[in-house]
C-alpha cells in the first residue's frame, strides 16, 4: 500500500517554499549536542523516566489512574475498547460531509512551510525546511467492533533524508499513538518538547465502528484526520524528531508493527499506571533549589498561559455551539419562509418570499462554514496548545528529576566518602579498596548527573525559545486565515443581498 516509487527530481513549483534544492541537513548524530539515538533501549520501559510520556495523555498530571483505563480527553474520561485486526477486512471509504470540508481554508499550508527552521538551528546554517505531510482518505477497515479507521499519510519533501520525494503509507490511529510513545520515551526526559498525540475517543470511534454513518460520526473522522495531520507536521518541525529513525519508519515503511502498548488494561498499561503513581509521590517531595531565575520565570509564565488558553478554548467552544445553533435556526426559518411563499396569492410577493427562503438557505451555508472556521482554526488550535503546554510542563518536571538524581548521587558520594574516612581510621584495608572503588564510580555518576542536568537545562532553553516563536507564528497565521474567512463571508453576503434587492423592490 505504501507508495515508495522513486519520483523524478523535485518539482519546485509544488512547494510553497522555493528553497535551495540541495538538502543542507547535517549528518545525523554528528554535530548536535544531544544524542537521543545513543540512549540505551532500557530507558523505555524499566526506567522511571520511560513511561512518563503518558502524562501527556491527560491534562491532569495528578490523575494517577487515567492511564489504567486509557483515558485521554480534555473533559470527560472515556474507556477504550480492545482493538484487534480482522482477518480479511472490508474497506469502506467514508465520505466526509461537505459542510465539514473546508476547502477555503488552506489551514496547514501557510502554517507549516515557513522557514521557522532557520531561526532554530543556527549552528546548522540556514537549512531548508521542505516537507509537507497530509493525512487523507479515511477508510473503514473491517466490520463491527473489530473495525478501525485507516488513514493515508502522504509526504512530499525534498529533504534527502527520505528515500523519495513523494510517498504514501496507510496508518491507523494506534500507529500514531505508538509513534508518539516511542518519541516521548526517547526525547522528553532530556528536554525536548515532544508534541502530544491526538486524543482517543471511545464514543466517536464506537459510532464509526458500528457503521453509523451520520453527520456526527463523519465530523468525528474529519476532526481526527485534521488533528493527526497537525500532529505529524508539528512533530517533523522538531529537527531532532525529523531525523529520528522511528519517524522515518512511520512515514516511509509500508508495514508497521502493531503498537501494542496502547491497548486498554494491558500489562504495559498497568506498569505505566504504577510508575506514574510512584512519580507523583516523588514530584511532591522535590524541592529544587532553583539557581536560574529564567526557569522559575518561565514556569510561572507557562502556568499562566495554561490557564488563559483554557479559558479561551472554553469561550471558543461556546461560540462554535452558538454558530451551529444559528445555522439550524436559519435553516428552519428558510423552510417557513418557503411555506409562506407557497401559500401567498400575490404573485410578486410570493416570488420575493421564495427568493427570501433561498437567500436564507445560502446564509445558512455561510454560518456552517463560519462555524467550521471557528472550530478548525481556533478551537482546535487552542486545544492543541493546551496539550502542548502540558508537554512543556512535563519537560520542566524532567529537569527537576534530573537535578534530583544528580543531588542524590552527590549525597551518596558524600556518605561514601565519610564511610571511607572511617574505614581509613579503623584501618581495614580490604574494605577500604572496595570503598575507594565505589567512590570512584560514584564520582563518575555525579559528574554525569551534573552534565545531564546542564544538558537538559540547555536543551530546554533552546526548546522554549523555539516553542515561543512557533506559538507566535501559529497564532498570527491562524488569525490572518480567520480574517480572510470573515472578509469572504461578508463579500458573499453582499452578493446575496445585491441579488435579492431587485426582487424585493419588484413586489408592487
Amino acid at each position: 500500500m505504501a507508495d515508495t516509487a522513486r519520483d523524478p527530481p523535485p518539482q519546485h513549483t509544488d512547494f510553497h517554499e522555493l528553497e535551495d534544492g540541495e538538502d543542507l541537513f547535517p549528518e545525523p548524530a554528528a554535530t548536535l549536542e544531544s544524542e537521543p539515538a545513543s540512549l540505551p533501549a532500557e530507558d523505555i520501559s524499566t526506567n522511571s523516566n520511560g513511561p512518563k510520556q503518558d502524562s501527556l495523555f491527560d491534562d491532569d498530571p495528578e490523575d494517577l489512574f487515567a492511564e489504567a483505563t486509557e483515558e485521554v480527553s480534555l473533559d470527560s474520561p472515556e474507556r477504550d475498547v480492545l482493538l484487534s485486526d480482522g482477518p480479511s477486512p472490508a474497506i469502506t471509504p467514508i465520505t466526509p460531509p461537505t459542510s465539514v470540508l473546508t476547502p477555503r481554508i488552506g489551514l496547514l499550508d501557510d502554517m507549516f512551510t515557513h522557514s521557522s527552521f532557520d531561526e532554530i538551528e543556527e549552528e546548522d546554517g540556514g537549512d531548508s525546511f521542505d516537507i509537507h505531510i497530509s493525512v487523507s482518505d479515511p477508510e473503514k477497515v473491517g466490520d463491527g467492533m473489530n473495525a478501525y479507521m485507516a488513514y493515508k499519510v502522504t509526504t512530499k519533501t525534498s529533504i534527502s533524508l527520505f528515500k523519495s520525494h513523494e510517498f504514501s503509507v496507510k496508518r491507523r490511529f494506534s500507529d500514531f499513538l505508538g509513534l508518539h510513545s516511542k518519541l516521548a520515551s526517547k526525547y522528553l526526559h532530556i528536554g525536548y518538547i515532544v508534541p502530544p498525540a491526538p486524543e482517543k475517543s471511545i464514543v466517536g470511534m464506537t459510532k464509526v465502528k458500528v457503521g453509523k454513518e451520520d453527520q456526527s460520526s463523519n465530523e468525528f473522522v474529519e476532526k481526527r484526520r485534521s488533528a493527526l495531520e497537525r500532529y505529524l507536521m508539528r512533530t517533523v518541525k522538531l529537527p531532532v524528531l525529523l531525523k529520528d529513525p522511528d519517524v522515518l519508519l512511520f512515514l516511509e515503511s509500508s508495514e508497521l508493527p502493531r503498537a501494542v502498548s496502547t491497548q486498554a488494561l494491558s500489562s504495559a498499561g498497568l506498569l505505566r499506571m504504577v510508575n506514574k503513581a510512584a512519580e507523583a509521590v516523588n514530584k511532591m517531595t522535590i524541592k529544587m533549589n532553583e539557581s536560574d531565575a529564567w526557569f522559575e520565570e518561565k514556569q510561572q509564565h507557562f502556568e499562566n498561559l495554561d490557564v488563559q488558553l483554557r479559558k479561551l478554548h472554553a469561550s471558543m467552544e461556546s461560540l462554535v455551539l452558538h454558530r451551529k445553533e444559528l445555522s439550524v435556526n436559519t435553516a428552519q426559518f428558510a423552510k417557513s419562509a418557503a411555506m409562506l411563499g407557497n401559500s401567498e396569492d400575490h404573485t410578486a410577493l410570493s416570488r420575493a418570499l421564495s427568493q427570501l427562503a433561498e437567500v436564507e438557505e445560502k446564509i445558512d451555508q455561510l454560518h456552517q462554514d463560519q462555524a467550521n472556521a471557528d472550530f478548525y482554526l481556533f478551537s482546535e488550535l487552542l486545544g492543541d496548545y493546551v496539550r502542548l503546554i502540558t508537554a512543556v510542563k512535563g519537560v520542566f518536571d524532567h529537569r527537576m528529576k534530573t537535578w534530583q538524581k544528580w543531588q542524590d548521587s552527590q549525597m551518596l558520594l558524600q556518605k561514601k566518602r565519610e564511610a571511607e574516612a572511617k574505614l581509613q581510621f579503623n584501618n581495614k584495608p580490604d574494605k577500604l579498596q572496595q570503598a575507594k572503588d565505589e567512590i570512584k564510580e560514584l564520582e563518575g555518576k555525579v559528574e554525569q548527573g551534573e552534565r545531564e542536568f546542564e544538558q537538559i537545562s540547555k536543551t530546554i532553553r533552546k526548546e522554549v525559545s523555539r516553542f515561543e516563536k512557533e506559538r507566535v507564528k501559529d497564532f498570527k497565521t491562524i488569525i490572518i486565515k480567520y480574517l480572510e474567512s470573515l472578509v469572504q463571508t461578508q463579500q458573499q453576503l453582499i452578493k446575496y443581498w445585491d441579488a435579492f434587492l431587485p426582487e424585493a423592490k419588484a413586489i408592487s
Binding site: H301, N304, L305, Q308, L309, K311, L312, S315, M316, S318, L319, H322, R323, E325, L326, N329, T330, Q332, F333, K335, S336, A337, M339, L340, S343, E344, D345, H346, L349, A352, L356, S465, E468, K469, R471, V472, F475, K476, I479, I480, Y482, L483, E484, L486, V487, Q490, Q491, L493, I494, W497, D498, F500, L501, A504, K505, I507, S508
Partner: protein, 369 residues
C-alpha cells in the same frame, strides 16, 4: 377625569400620518407612553401621556360602536399584548419581537396601531380617537358597555362555528386562505425570532472572547512575549468588530423584517376574527330564516322582523368586509414589500461596512507579520 363619550362621530384634528410614540417612561412597574401628534390646522403639536390601559379603553370604544352599520365587518387594527416591566417568560414569548430591547419596537407597534386607526375611514370618526390623541387628561377608565365582539380565543363554545360552510365563494376562499397564511406567518415570525436571539448570543460570546484575550497580554521586554501580546490585542479587536457586526445584523433583522412579520401575523389574526364574526352572523341568519319558516302564524310576523333585521345586518357586514379585505390585501403587500426592501438595504450596508472593517484589520495584521 373625562366625561362619558356622548357624540359618536367627529373629524380627527390631527395629521394621521404624523402620530408618533416618542418615548416610554418607566415608573416602578408601570410603563407610560408619550404620544406626539401634529395639529392639522396651523403649527403645533399635542403631547399626551398614555398607559396601556388607555389603549385598551380606546379599543373598547371602537369595538362597541353598535350604531355603525356593518361595524362587525371591520378588520380592527391589532393592539399588541400588554407590555410589562420584568415580564414573565410566557408574556415575553407572546410579545415576540416587540419584547426585545428597551421597548423601542413596542413603541413602534403602538404607533402603527394609532396611525392605522386614524387612517381608517370608519374608525377615525369615533370621538374616542380624538380624545385619546388630544386630551391632556387620561381618558376614563370605567368599563364600557359589554364588548359585543366575541374574541375567537374566548368563544370556545363558538369555535365549532369557525368551520361553518359559507354561502359566498369569495368569503369561503378568503377564510381558507387566511387560515393558512395566519399559521405560516406566525411560524415564520417565531422562527425568525429564534434566529435573532441566537445572533444576539453570538454577539455576547464574541465579547467574552475579546475580553478573555486581553488577559493574555503579558508585560515584558521579551520580543516573543511582545509579539504574542500584540497578536492577542489585534485578535481582540477583530472579535470586537465581529460583535459589532453581529449586533447590527440582529438589529437590522428586528427593526425591519421582524417588525413586519410581527405585524403581518397579528393582522392575519385580526382578519380571522372579522371573518369569524361574519360567520357567526351567517349562522345567526340561517337560524333566523329557519325560525321564520317554521314559525306558527301567531309568531310569524315577529320572526319575519327578526329575519329581516338579521339579513340587513349581514348584508351590511358583507359590504364592509369586502371593502376591508381589499384594503387589507393591498396594505399588507405594501407593508411587506417595504419591510423586505428596508431589510435588504440595511443588511447590505452592514455587510459592506463589516467587509471594510475586517479588511482593514487584515491589512494591519499582514503588515505586522
Amino acid at each position: 377625569m373625562m366625561e362619558e363619550v356622548k357624540e359618536v362621530t367627529s373629524t380627527l384634528s390631527v395629521d394621521r400620518d404624523n402620530i408618533n410614540v416618542t418615548e416610554v417612561l418607566k415608573d416602578g412597574d408601570s410603563l407610560t407612553f408619550l404620544i406626539v401628534s401634529q395639529k392639522l390646522s396651523g403649527t403645533g403639536e399635542y403631547h399626551v401621556a398614555r398607559a396601556y390601559d388607555d389603549f385598551e379603553w380606546l379599543q373598547q370604544h371602537l369595538f362597541s360602536q353598535e350604531d355603525v352599520p356593518g361595524i362587525q365587518g371591520v378588520i380592527f387594527p391589532p393592539l399588541p399584548a400588554k407590555a410589562q416591566v420584568n415580564a414573565s417568560a410566557k408574556v415575553m414569548k407572546q410579545l415576540g419581537f416587540l419584547g426585545l430591547g428597551e421597548w423601542q419596537l413596542y413603541c413602534k407597534a403602538l404607533e402603527t396601531f394609532l396611525r392605522q386607526i386614524a387612517a381608517h375611514s370608519i374608525l377615525s370618526k369615533n370621538k374616542a380617537v380624538e380624545i385619546f390623541l388630544t386630551s391632556s387628561d387620561p381618558p376614563g377608565r370605567q368599563r364600557v358597555r359589554k364588548n359585543i365582539f366575541n374574541r375567537l380565543s374566548q368563544a370556545v363554545e363558538e369555535k365549532r362555528k369557525e368551520g361553518h360552510k359559507d354561502v359566498d365563494q369569495f368569503f369561503q376562499t378568503e377564510r381558507d386562505q387566511n387560515l393558512v397564511l395566519a399559521g405560516c406567518a406566525k411560524t415564520a415570525a417565531e422562527r425568525f425570532l429564534d434566529v435573532v436571539q441566537t445572533e444576539q448570543k453570538i454577539a455576547v460570546a464574541c465579547g467574552h472572547f475579546s475580553a478573555a484575550l486581553h488577559l493574555c497580554v503579558e508585560p515584558g521586554e521579551d520580543s516573543d512575549k511582545q509579539a504574542f501580546s500584540k497578536a492577542c490585542v489585534k485578535l481582540s479587536e477583530v472579535f470586537d468588530s465581529m460583535k459589532k457586526n453581529m449586533t447590527s445584523v440582529a438589529e437590522n433583522n428586528v427593526s425591519t423584517l421582524g417588525l413586519g412579520m410581527d405585524l403581518e401575523s397579528r393582522y392575519q389574526e385580526a382578519e380571522k376574527e372579522m371573518l369569524f364574526r361574519r360567520t357567526c352572523k351567517l349562522v345567526e341568519l340561517e337560524s333566523a330564516r329557519r325560525n321564520a319558516e317554521k314559525a306558527k302564524p301567531v309568531k310569524k310576523a315577529a320572526m319575519e322582523e327578526v329575519k329581516k333585521a338579521a339579513e340587513t345586518e349581514f348584508d351590511h357586514i358583507c359590504g364592509v368586509a369586502k371593502q376591508e379585505i381589499a384594503r387589507f390585501q393591498g396594505a399588507r403587500v405594501e407593508m411587506l414589500q417595504q419591510a423586505l426592501v428596508q431589510w435588504c438595504e440595511k443588511q447590505l450596508l452592514t455587510a459592506k461596512e463589516s467587509a471594510e472593517q475586517f479588511n482593514q484589520h487584515l491589512q494591519t495584521l499582514r503588515g505586522m507579520a
